[in-house]
Symmetry: C2
């Protein structure tokens, strides 16, 4: 018999409780033994809840779970840093295996947590922390182990993908769609963590650290959000054969790990281009397996609940069969994170210039001087006396582009740099 | 130490040998013990091979592997029914775990093989038998277990997907592209198994039997190939907002399992529509997890080798840690396979009729009488005195449609039923 302590009974917590309650028999058949939720930690014992259960199960004292020697599996679904991290460490130190969907603590403290688990010979699983219902962490550890994965491209945040999709489909501006998404519950009232790219940064940090077997300092991950994307950019992308997505990228390079989150132009013919709405996807390239993509719902009560319950089944089975901890932490500090300034990308530039002879040559002159060469030039919607110039560069070091942009801004005939968006073509 | 006997050293066999040789250290680190290929069964000991190895490893006597008590893991990569099936059973009965990429024997004898494995307390894994490098069998068994999967839609055959993609992109007819594919090695010289849908039928039978925990009689799986698809159909599909794919479908219905392989119109905006060339994909819907898609290379030395080696690592680990057989056969005979005549689909019909007044009303009259109602009608390329009529129906029972078609053929003004292709919209 496996006894579970559940920390937290919010959206995902209630989902997990329900899935286990409604599928008890088939889950126990898969585990090979009985499974029981012994205690649930909540903040408020008297709060009305939309799941029905025995009130005896509830406690507001974490130690009723963390110090109970009968509980061998702790499921942390509180979220956030405190007190989740402390609870997880205490559970591990009390020889309990842990399952969590908490991207923040795994991204920030994954290395310490896995080390402690290894020392205490217990397991820590966190499939629900990245891309909700999409099986990715276990496949990376089990099914794709024969391949050396070189790079990961992910659409890892449902809120921003929903916003970009709606802007594209309904031809609306960012702010309008954000408000609608908030009204519909697809975006938080404080949407900062999603729209700034931070949420995706946590997730790509977790995927990169597993895939490249390295420690990733979350503070070194470059992240740029979608706040500056306008409908004009989306429409120009469309004309040029692209869609705009918030991409999370992790790549193993000779000189370190290139890891970053930013909006990107991607070709309409790439499989990631059809990942719309709240869906997430992860696109990988491995030396042996080639290209692989997984697609599914990236968040929500049930998709994330499904991932957590799958972890519960596997871990319970491992406890039942007394299988040792097999995913020791292999991260090390040997890989540096490459500064974004040293990364090469293609860029889309939208610039407003005065409609005067010689302006184009001034602009391309400065670009050329900084090693920025152009793949295509689009001059549209002539609004004399000002002309919007749309440029796509060849691959160029970000620092060279930044130098060029700095110089361009000093030109009298350049009215403004309207937007700069990376173009990703090296999938 | 885990000792492996390899049956077969063809394309995938050499790939597996190479992957293990080139990644020995990292694989052994993952397994937790040493791994050694002890013997390799080949047909011809003297054949020239493009991998280099100690000739002592080779044998042409299967018993050198099957009867060697030191070998605890047998990897069957001979393919085909005989003698692969006998070897696999003998290995299991000699208490050896087995890994195979043989879709034929798993589709035909999976139930017996898994039962024997269970009785002998050994494991049988076959990730490489479906969709090459795409992790799907293990995720179905481990990561998606919390969900009740309702349906599976797969593009499971690379050859046919390559042919359909080329026909679409290069506006060529089936026969021309088939010949090119044969010249390039993407299609066999005898392409029957691929283009008839049989190969995909084996694979959807395997996926359905795992997903729906049922025995699937491969002979009851309806399969229809791509030989009759013309460039005209592809172009009309495009005009109507669809692409044509060879779909393998498995659905759990109230009255049984709906399992079939046939070409299908699918919407251009569906994620499967961008699965092109030799790529495969599997699209699932689960009650809890929602929609999930996995995409990758479906065949080839390295993708399939990657799946086989992942199975080797997992099984070797399970042997090393003395973990019992955990995937007992759960198939039963309780689910009937639904006859295709009793399945509802939308249909695309391309009919040549005489350009005479009243013909349209004759045609729609017969359709209506047989419960076939129309969603859209396209009348194009008027070539008096004959007009091509392109119809898309609402969902209709296949037997009703067949009755209607039979009647239509008797009309003097219907010159020919050029093609009938199912339209899949209920993803």
């Amino acid at each position: 018999m496996i006894k579970i302590g559940l920390l937290g009974l919010g959206t995902v917590g209630s989902g997990v409780y329900r899935i286990i309650r409604d599928n008890k028999e088939s889950i126990e058949q898969k585990v090979g033994t009985e499974l029981e939720i012994e205690k649930i930690l909540v903040n408020d014992l008297n709060k009305k809840r939309d799941v029905e259960f025995d009130n005896e199960l509830l406690t507001d004292q974490a130690d009723d779970i963390l110090e109970d020697p009968n509980i061998n599996l702790v499921v942390e679904l509180i979220g956030g840093e405190k007190p989740a991290y402390q609870y997880v460490m205490e559970a591990i130190n009390n020889k309990k295996s842990v399952i969590t969907a908490n991207k923040l603590i795994i991204a920030k403290y994954g290395s310490e947590i896995l080390k402690a688990a290894s020392q205490n010979n217990v397991q820590v699983s966190f499939e629900g922390s990245v891309a909700g219902g999409i099986p990715i962490i276990r496949p990376l550890k089990e099914s794709l182990v024969a391949s050396n994965i070189k790079n990961i491209y992910g659409i890892l945040n449902g809120t921003t993908n929903y916003i970009l999709t709606k802007m594209t489909e309904e031809e609306k501006e960012f702010k309008e769609v954000l408000k609608e998404a908030q009204d519909l519950g697809y975006a938080e009232s404080d949407p900062h963590s999603d729209i700034s790219g931070l949420d995706a940064a946590y997730k790509i940090a977790i995927l990169s650290s597993i895939t490249f077997e390295t420690y990733v300092d979350i503070n070194s991950v470059y992240s740029e959000g979608i706040e500056e994307i306008t409908l004009t950019d989306i429409q120009l992308a469309d004309e040029l054969g692209y869609v705009i997505k918030l991409l999370a990228i992790g790549k193993k390079e000779e000189n370190g790990i290139d890891i970053r989150v930013h909006p990107a132009f991607i070709s309409k013919s790439h499989p990631l281009a059809l990942v719309n709405g709240v869906y997430n996807a992860i696109y990988l390239h491995g030396d042996i397996v080639g290209d692989i993509m997984s697609y599914g719902k990236g968040a929500g009560q049930m998709p994330t609940g499904s991932a957590v319950v799958a972890d519960i089944i596997q871990t319970a089975k491992d406890i039942h069969y007394n299988r040792p901890n097999i995913y020791a932490d292999k991260s090390s500090l040997e890989h540096e994170i490459i500064d974004i300034e040293k990364v090469k990308n293609l860029f889309y530039l939208r610039i407003l210039v005065n409609d005067k002879p010689g302006v184009m040559s001034e602009v391309t002159g400065i670009l050329g001087k900084n090693q920025v060469s152009l793949a295509s030039v689009l001059q549209k919607h002539r609004l004399t006396p000002v002309v919007p110039l749309v440029l796509i560069t060849h691959p160029v070091l970000e620092e060279n582009l930044n130098n060029a942009l700095k110089e361009l801004k000093t030109l009298k005939n350049v009215k403004s740099i309207e937007n700069v968006i990376r173009v990703v073509e090296d999938f």
